[in-house]
C-alpha cells in the first residue's frame, strides 16, 4: 500500500490550498489516513517480502499459447469467402519470414548467367571476324 501511494501522482500543495479544491483536499487527507490506519492494523501480518515479492512464474491455463495453435475457424476453396478473407489477412506475415518460392533454382541461374556472360564477352571483344566488317563500311 505504501509503495503504491508513493508512486501515485500527487497534487501540489499550492493547488490544494485553493478554495475550489477543498473537497479534493479532504478526500486525499482521508485516503492517507486510511492507508496509515491499515498499515498500523496489519503491520504484524504484512511483511516487507509481501510488498516487494514478484514471481518469475506465469501460469497459463490454455494450450493455445503453449502449443502455438492456429485459429479453429477455417474455410477452403471458397466455401465461406468471409472467413477466407480473414485467413488471407493473417497468412502473408508467415510467408515473409520464409524463403520465397523460385521458378529457377540458384544453381541453374548461376550456370545460365555464366554462359550468358561468356557469350557477351565474346561478342564485345573485337575478333578477326567483326573487324573486317567495319573496314568494309
Amino acid at each position: 500500500m505504501a509503495g503504491l501511494s508513493r508512486k501515485k501522482l500527487q497534487l501540489p500543495k499550492s493547488v490544494l490550498e485553493m478554495k475550489f479544491m477543498k473537497r479534493t483536499k479532504e478526500r486525499i487527507e482521508k485516503e492517507l489516513e486510511n492507508i496509515h490506519g491499515h498499515e498500523g492494523l496489519y503491520s504484524n501480518i504484512i511483511t516487507n517480502e509481501m510488498r516487494t515479492a514478484t514471481g518469475n512464474y506465469i501460469p497459463e491455463a490454455s494450450f493455445i499459447y503453449c502449443e502455438n495453435l492456429i485459429d479453429g475457424r477455417l474455410s477452403f476453396k471458397g466455401m465461406n469467402p468471409e472467413i477466407e478473407r480473414l485467413m488471407d489477412l493473417e497468412t502473408p506475415k508467415e510467408e515473409e519470414s520464409g524463403e520465397m518460392q523460385k521458378d529457377v533454382s540458384d544453381e541453374v541461374l548461376v550456370k545460365n548467367m555464366n554462359k550468358f556472360k561468356t557469350r557477351k564477352r565474346q561478342s564485345l571483344t573485337p575478333s578477326k571476324y567483326n573487324v573486317p566488317s567495319k573496314k568494309k563500311k
Binding site: 518469475n56 512464474y57 490454455s62 499459447y65 495453435l69 492456429i70 479453429g72 476453396k77 466455401m79
Partner: protein, 236 residues
C-alpha cells in the same frame, strides 16, 4: 518423483528443471503444472513438454473440457435467461453469453439466436469458482470468425484431437484443403463443426478428422489421398 522434459509424468511429480530456470528468468507454466512453495508440481497424468522460450506444460489425454480464458469453443444455446443465453460447452456448468456481446447488438436490436443454435465463441471469463462467460465479438467489437454456425454438422472428439489438427505442423488440413470446398470450426472444448456442399463430402471430412487421431503424419497424408480418390469416384 523427479521428472524431466519428455518423461511420462503423474500428479505429484515435480520438475527441478523448471524451478532452476525460474530462478533466473520468466517461465510460463501451462496446463497440468502448478507452482507450490518448494517445487513446480505436476497435476495431470501425461507427457511433460517444453517449447522455447521457457514454456512448459503437460500433454495429457482428456475429454472433459475445463474452460480457459481466450479459447474458442463451440457451444449449444440451451436457455434464454433475461439478457443472457446459457450455452452448453461441455464443461461442468453452462457458460453465459450476453446478448449484447454480438456484433452490432444493442438493447433494442437483439441478435437472432434461438435455443438449439450452435455458436462459435471466445471464453472471456474462465475462473475456477465462477460461471464461465463467452463473447462473440473481439476487442474491436467486430465478430471476426465468431458467431452462430448455421447448417453443417457437429460431432465430439477428444481435446487432444482438436489440438492435433490445429497444430501448425499437422498435415491433415494441409492435405484436405485442396480437395473439395469445406468449412470447419474446431472448438477447444472437443467439438468440431463441419460444412461441405454435399453429404458425401461432409461424411468424408468427418471421417478424415476422426481417423487422424492415432495416425502419424505420413499415415494422415496417405489416408487423405485415399479418401479423396474414393470421393472423386475413382475407387468405389
Amino acid at each position: 518423483m523427479k521428472a524431466s522434459v519428455g518423461d511420462v509424468v503423474l500428479p505429484g511429480d515435480y520438475c527441478e528443471e523448471i524451478s532452476a530456470v525460474g530462478e533466473k528468468a520468466k517461465v510460463i507454466i501451462g496446463p497440468g503444472l502448478q507452482k507450490e512453495i518448494d517445487h513446480v508440481y505436476v497435476t495431470k497424468a501425461g507427457i511433460l513438454k517444453k517449447r522455447n522460450p521457457n514454456t512448459y506444460w503437460v500433454d495429457n489425454y482428456q475429454k472433459r473440457y475445463i474452460p480457459a480464458r481466450g479459447e474458442n469453443v463451440i457451444g449449444v444455446v440451451v436457455q434464454k435467461a433475461g439478457d443472457i443465453f446459457r450455452v452448453d460447452v461441455g464443461s461442468s456448468t453452462t457458460a453465459a453469453l450476453s446478448y449484447l456481446s454480438f456484433e452490432g447488438a444493442t438493447k433494442k436490436n437483439k441478435p437472432d439466436v434461438q435455443i438449439g443454435d450452435v455458436v462459435y465463441a471466445k471464453m472471456l471469463v474462465a475462473s475456477k469458482d465462477m460461471e464461465p462467460e463467452l463473447v462473440c465479438v473481439d476487442s474491436h467489437g467486430k465478430k471476426g470468425r465468431m458467431g452462430v454456425l448455421s447448417d453443417g454438422f457437429v460431432f465430439k472428439c477428444s481435446l487432444n484431437l482438436i489440438r492435433k489438427i490445429l497444430n501448425p505442423h499437422c498435415p491433415l488440413l494441409e492435405s484436405l484443403k485442396n480437395e473439395w470446398p469445406f468449412e470447419l470450426a474446431a472448438g477447444m472444448n472437443g467439438r468440431i463443426w463441419i460444412k461441405a456442399n454435399t453429404m458425401r463430402e461432409t461424411i468424408a471430412l468427418g471421417n478424415a478428422i476422426l481417423g487422424a487421431e492415432y495416425l502419424s503424419d505420413e499415415e494422415i497424408k496417405s489416408m487423405c489421398t485415399n479418401i479423396a480418390t474414393i470421393l472423386a469416384g475413382h475407387v468405389s
